[in-house]
């Protein structure tokens, strides 16, 4: 990528808020306020703070500190694939009984 393309990619990036609906589809709970830890650099922060790249067939969420991939999500007509090797953990709030 030259500098112009890099600036364009930067202007197009969103954040975890933009994929809140997709994450709630997958986990059945609100996820953007939940903490997660980047497996690469150890940064802790809410899922909503992750950088989101959505101009592609899938969704890529990256760490805002080191920019390594934290989560990758691809939807097909009959399934959702998630690659979560970039996160140490995700926290799912228990639903009230």
């Amino acid at each position: 990528m030259d500098n112009g393309e890099r600036d364009m990619a930067r202007a197009f990036r969103l954040d975890g808020n933009a994929v809140a609906g997709l994450l709630q589809d997958i986990f059945a709970v609100e996820m953007t306020a939940s903490p997660t830890v980047c497996a690469h650099c150890g940064r802790a922060g809410a899922v909503g703070t992750l950088l989101a790249f959505t101009q592609a067939p899938g969704v890529v969420l990256r760490c805002p500190a080191c920019e390594h991939v934290v989560l990758r999500i691809v939807e097909t007509p009959d399934a959702i694939y998630m690659d979560a090797r970039g996160t140490l953990y995700l926290r799912l709030e228990r639903r009230p009984a």
């Binding site: 969103l14 809140a20 609100e30």
Partner: protein, 248 residues
């Protein structure tokens, strides 16, 4: 908030132009639930051939408005969804929506303040929900809104913001107009920068709750500017709208 999101069929009950490129759509919801100020709804359009396009739009109304939500939507020239919502949709039409969605970029009066809100273009929409909620619950949390627009004609909610700022409840609204200013304008006339952030933010101190929304580059510049002023990163919440909706 909890559980899978269900789609529902909303009915358009009002359409109101805000600026030449921005419109507010009021939707009556059969399964309305109170949102939190800052949350959004997903809107889904389905073509006769089954092709679907989906976008997220921030709720502009306060949670205290029951049974219906207002979505304020900017018309994007190259958009797949917003031109339809602007040019085709009429009162009485039905739209498929789901929400409310999100839990990170939200403010409720119970979270306190002081509240520092920074908006670029249509990024003001979720912040307006916070201001309307603040008024609805008679909160006097000290609040400042720094709002960047291209021209005076591009300022969304201009009259309502003026009126809210005049109520003497601790709200200051500070505009910057980056491309054109009215005659006699004495306010800011440039993009948000470090001296501007200092002047606007410092009267509230560094123990603020900051919410920044708008074009990605504006949001990131403002957020790093606030960190340089000594505001802790965990006090700064951001929502990026991408390359559009901006005052560049």
């Amino acid at each position: 908030m909890l559980g899978p999101l269900a789609w529902q069929i909303a009915t358009v009950t009002a359409l109101r132009p805000e600026t030449a490129h921005v419109k507010t759509i009021t939707l009556a919801l059969p399964a309305w639930t109170p949102h939190r100020a800052g949350q959004h709804y997903d809107v889904r359009l389905t073509a006769p051939d089954g092709y679907q396009a989906q976008r997220s739009y921030s709720v502009a109304s306060a949670p205290e408005q029951t049974g219906a939500i207002d979505l304020t939507i900017e018309r994007l020239e190259e958009g797949e969804v917003s031109p339809y919502l602007h040019d085709v949709l009429v009162v009485g039409d039905q739209l498929e929506v789901r929400g409310p969605i999100g839990g990170y970029f939200v403010w409720e009066a119970g979270l306190g303040g002081p509240l520092l809100l920074i908006a670029g273009g249509s990024g003001v929409v979720p912040l307006m929900a916070m201001l309307r909620h603040r008024v609805a619950v008679a909160s006097h949390v000290p609040t400042r809104l720094l709002y960047s627009s291209r021209t005076p004609e591009d300022v969304i909610y201009r009259a309502e913001l003026e009126q809210l700022a005049a109520t003497g409840t601790g709200l200051d609204v500070i505009h910057t107009l980056t491309r054109a200013q009215p005659a006699g304008w004495t306010g800011y006339a440039r993009r948000i920068d470090a001296p501007m952030l200092r002047e606007v933010a410092m009267p509230l101190g560094t123990a603020v709750q900051a919410f920044i929304c708008g074009p990605t580059l504006l949001v990131e510049a403002a957020a790093s500017g606030l960190v340089q002023l000594g505001i802790a990163p965990e006090r700064i919440r951001t929502e990026r709208f991408g390359p559009t909706g901006g005052p560049s």
